[in-house]
Symmetry: C2
Subunit: 108 residues, 2 copies
Amino acid sequence: MGESAKTHQPPYYAVVFTSQRTEGDRGYGKMAEKMEELASQQQGFLGIESARDSGLGITVSYWDSLDAIRNWKDNSAHKFAQEKGKEEWYKNYTVRVCKVERAYSFEM
Amino acid sequence: MGESAKTHQPPYYAVVFTSQRTEGDRGYGKMAEKMEELASQQQGFLGIESARDSGLGITVSYWDSLDAIRNWKDNSAHKFAQEKGKEEWYKNYTVRVCKVERAYSFEM
């Protein structure tokens, strides 16, 4: 968390996950860490970036194909976390599957 | 800031802006607010979401076309802010222009 993902050559895919949490941790922090580690081991994973402040959390994960995104969505440990998320951790969330068409970076 | 953007019917466009800030405010907070207000008045603007923690900031703005994104990038007040950003506020940033292909939401 709190690190920039490397930039790859477009086109590739981004999943933008925005969420508002329920109160308290309820095991969320540990699971989020575990899921990030597991995601990074999946075929086609390119990187992940996360920021959360008091109001909103945004996590963007990067993938080389829609198939890679589908496989991660269907991963059984991830599916379990998704269910827990709906029951316990999220007041609301939105998932947006996006094709990255152009990317550029600045370094001071 | 700290609010969820409404979900629209894809396809539409998202600009994912991830950044690491320099130390101190240096007028950044006020300018960020002003730019968010100005962006929201542009033709084709659909919404904006922001989160920043100690390591990383992520702002995602949503637009109805690539033209709308281009126009906002070329807006003169925004161009001035972009220059200040490179001189003062950002250690590094990445801009990714994305086509939102699929979106779904959950509400507790």
